[in-house]
């Protein structure tokens, strides 16, 4: 395999040394099947052990290695260098998040939002395990399956103009997950989730341009979840206006 040369410009930020992020260029040779993450690992192992980033599975399922690659949110384990060659590649931390160091962002905010949408099955009554599983047909499974595929990689937040302006916005992945549980035939927790989302800052600013869906590496389609949640919320609101007695 012939090696080609490419320049990578990588964001550096070492909070113990500097006040603001800077950029460092690395020139490297790469075989045809290298991804951006391979290049970062090469730098870390053989050139500069201080370069800092997160990664783990390198097969697109753990959600650790999201970064901005030439301005777009990407899983770096699936971003091939050959697709950018011969131009330079700019690798930056995911935008709209605070930077902890170099390419590592702070995602604690998302974890609060995740918990806020009650991401578990809510039921008044649990049936005993001895009675076996809840029946769920393939069609009922298909209703929510797509929205259960989120790997929490944060690319959608980094692509979301609303989140960029309004960090309080509960955001695409959290709404998609709320939608996932709302659509699950085993769940009875819709009401609580709906309220959290409807009262969330920003949801009504979302113009459904769909950048979140565009960048999702797992085709979760958060934009669809947001859209359906809005419709459901306005319908509920309309119902409560028109039929205040009609609480189901």
């Amino acid at each position: 395999m012939s090696a080609k040369k490419i320049t990578m410009r990588v964001t550096r930020y070492r909070p113990e040394q500097e006040d603001a992020p800077t950029e460092q260029a690395y020139e490297l040779e790469f075989p045809d099947d290298w991804v951006v993450l391979d290049a970062l690992n090469y730098i870390k192992d053989d050139v500069d052990g201080t370069l800092t980033f997160r990664w783990s599975c390198r097969m697109g399922i753990c959600g650790s290695c999201g970064m901005m690659v030439n301005g777009e949110p990407k899983l770096t384990c699936a971003a091939f260098l050959r697709d950018y060659y011969p131009a330079e590649i700019r690798v930056e931390p995911l935008q709209y998040f605070p930077i902890i160091r170099d390419l590592v962002i702070d995602m604690t905010d998302f974890l609060h939002k995740l918990k806020a949408i009650t991401p578990w099955i809510v039921r008044d009554e649990e049936k005993p395990l001895a009675e076996g599983e809840y029946l769920q047909t393939p069609a009922q499974l298909a209703d929510y399956k797509q929205f259960s595929m989120c790997i929490n990689c944060m690319l959608c937040y980094s692509a979301c103009p609303v989140y960029g302006h309004e960090p309080e916005f509960i955001g695409p992945a959290a709404i998609a997950l709320a939608h996932r549980y709302n659509l699950d035939s085993r769940d009875e927790g819709q009401e609580a989730r709906q309220q959290v989302i409807a009262s969330s800052e920003g949801i009504w600013d979302c113009t459904l341009v769909g950048e979140c869906t565009e960048v999702c590496p797992k085709r979760v389609d958060p934009a669809m979840a947001i859209q359906r949640t809005k419709v459901a919320t306005t319908t509920e609101w309309a119902k409560s206006m028109l039929m205040p007695w009609g609480k189901q």
Binding site: T52, C57, A78, M107, E133, K145
Partner: protein
């Protein structure tokens, strides 16, 4: 002391750790549990498991699952542990269903089951081919419900603390701040996964560095059956990305260069659904007979699923298609997938009993990090996802019971221990020391030694060479110098600490392998080609000593199934 204390502290936030955490808080409403994980829990390697989770949900009794597991283990599994496992796995998968796990379904709404290698009936539940991903996220999201679980995300455990012979907590590096603290606990459960990164070519994530195994080994606990390393027969050449066994359950064929389904010569009754150890050996035999393809990343054969058709592939194997298309540019709907055997799983691990208890008081272990043993010399595919929930839950309950009779350790003692640990790490890694060794260089040399000495087939000479190489690497490790001397998110330091764990685990593995003079399950020796029940119907136990591992043996527990010849 800055850090709160917990009745039970769990190290590792994968499937076993999360199941343990939920079991622990549910066992006693007055306790708190801490989950310490070097990555956010949903990044844990459970996420990469694909094919499914075995449980006898559709059977009248569990004997067949037990027998298949024991035969698969080449009769090295402890049969009492297996009997517990096959019974409890049924409730555990139903429990996950109640928690929302999106199991694939039959038209009548029941959870679907598929066939799997070495299983004589269909008993593997699945979520298409992302079963581990869905189990992990279901467990994590369910665990968020419990306010009595405290999360130490991105904390790296550097040592186990012992007081008066009992485990009383851990020291951990807060990755974000760089601080090293003691986290006091009455009991500790290690759920840190396996150690696939001892090898260069592995399906395992970068985080699988044997941390819990090494922590136990250093604390005086034994590592059991470490010589048994599972090579999965179908990894993508180069990256080692796993192509699930489910692609064969659904009807995929393994084809050599001659165009033959070559497994007819090795596992004629089960063909592609023989156990993993035999299929991986079959590849080597085909390679020696010159019937495999040559590629830039070594020899390979074809896994052909084209005849399954696009519709079934999209319903049952979408991730296989996604991975092959994205990473090697091959769409398996139209082309066969190149595959070769790849290091996948450690049957061995921290020695525990069926309650997940180790011989060290206050220390428990579950999941791939542990060796109960229910997998013996070869694990059957889809038993590990049920193992993590069965023994995860058991470990949580057992640790709570133990903790209820313990007192918290003296704060002063702990703070002194934390100070000493901080000093050790600073002296060894963070002060400039003119060391002349890089972490990555030693790691690569270790991986090379392991691939040469602990491969699919092994010889005394190769294993001796590996043992000697590891000794030298341990010496070189004393000269390791990290580039990064800073505090905030120092992944260079973490890599150095992980390398230390890997070296210890590797040494235990290589020595256990050298001394097992027989072929059993995944441990295939060219110089001792048959199973020797007279000498080796026993578990190996490796203890750390300054001179190297000391290996002892422990009889296997046999209840109802006498060892017999293993054929498929």
């Amino acid at each position: 002391m800055d850090v709160p204390k917990h009745d039970v502290l769990i190290v590792g936030g994968g499937g076993a750790g999360l199941r343990a955490a939920i079991a622990a808080v549910e066992a006693d409403e007055h306790i708190t549990v801490g989950v310490v994980s070097k990555v956010y829990p949903m990044r844990s390697h459970t996420v990469s498991a694909e094919g499914g989770t075995a449980a006898a949900v559709r059977e009248d009794n569990t004997d067949s699952h037990a027998y298949d597991t024991i035969k698969g283990s080449d009769f090295l599994a402890d049969q009492d542990a297996v009997e517990i496992f096959v019974k409890e796995s049924i409730d555990e998968v139903i429990q996950l269903e109640h928690w929302g796990c999106p199991w694939s379904r039959d038209p009548d709404g029941l959870m679907s089951v598929r066939t799997f290698g070495g299983m004589s009936v269909d008993r593997t539940l699945f979520c298409s081919d992302k079963t581990g991903f869905h189990m992990l996220h279901t467990l994590y999201q369910t665990a968020l419900k419990y306010d009595r679980i405290a999360w130490y995300d991105e904390w790296f455990v550097t040592s186990l603390l012992k007081d008066d012979g009992k485990i009383c907590g851990v020291t951990a590096l807060n990755v974000r701040s760089g601080a090293i603290d003691a986290i006091p606990a009455k009991a500790v459960i290690l759920c840190t996964g396996g150690a696939g990164k001892l090898f260069a070519f592995t399906t395992n994530a970068s985080i699988k560095t044997g941390d819990g195994m090494a922590l136990t080994y250093r604390a005086g606990g034994p590592l059991k059956d470490m010589e048994f390393v599972q090579y999965h027969p179908t990894g993508l050449p180069g990256t080692g990305i796993l192509i699930t066994e489910a692609s064969r359950s659904e009807g995929g064929h393994m084809i050599n260069r001659e165009g033959d389904r070559y497994l007819s010569a090795y596992t004629p009754e089960r063909m592609e659904l023989g156990p993993r150890d035999m299929l991986s050996r079959a590849f080597i035999q085909e390679m020696r007979a010159n019937r495999v393809f040559e590629g830039p990343y070594g020899e390979y054969v074809h896994l052909d699923i084209r005849h399954l058709g696009e519709e079934l592939i999209m319903e049952r194997l979408p991730f296989v298609r996604e991975l092959a298309t994205e990473y090697v540019g091959i769409d398996p709907v139209y082309e066969p997938i190149p595959v070769r055997p790849v290091v996948h799983y450690m049957m061995g691990g921290i020695h525990t009993d069926a309650n997940a208890k180790t011989p060290v008081d206050g220390l428990y272990a579950a999941g791939e990090a542990a060796c109960v043993s229910m997998n013996g010399a070869n694990r059957l595919g889809s038993n590990s996802l049920s193992e993590i929930i069965v023994f995860g839950a058991r470990s949580g309950k057992a640790a709570v019971e133990y903790a209820s009779e313990q007192e918290f350790p003296e704060a002063n003692t702990l703070s002194q221990m934390a100070q000493a640990e901080k000093k050790r790490i600073e002296e060894q890694f963070l002060k400039p020391r003119n060391g002349n060794e890089r972490v990555a260089t030693i790691r690569r040399d270790l991986q090379l030694a392991m691939e040469q000495g602990a491969g699919i087939y092994r010889t005394e000479e190769e294993m001796k060479t590996a043992c000697e190489a590891i000794r030298k690497l341990l010496k070189r490790y004393e000269q390791v110098e990290v580039d990064d001397k800073s505090s905030v998110f120092n992944t260079d330091l973490i890599a150095a600490l992980e390398l230390g764990y890997m070296l210890d685990v590797a040494e235990a593995l290589a020595h256990s392998a050298l001394l097992r003079e027989e072929s059993r399950g995944s441990h295939a020796r060219e110089d001792f080609t048959t199973r020797d029940d007279e000498r080796f119907l026993q578990h190996s136990l490796a203890y750390q000593t300054p001179e190297g591992p000391r290996i002892e043996y422990l009889p296997v527990s046999i209840t109802r199934w006498q060892p017999e010849e293993r054929k498929y």
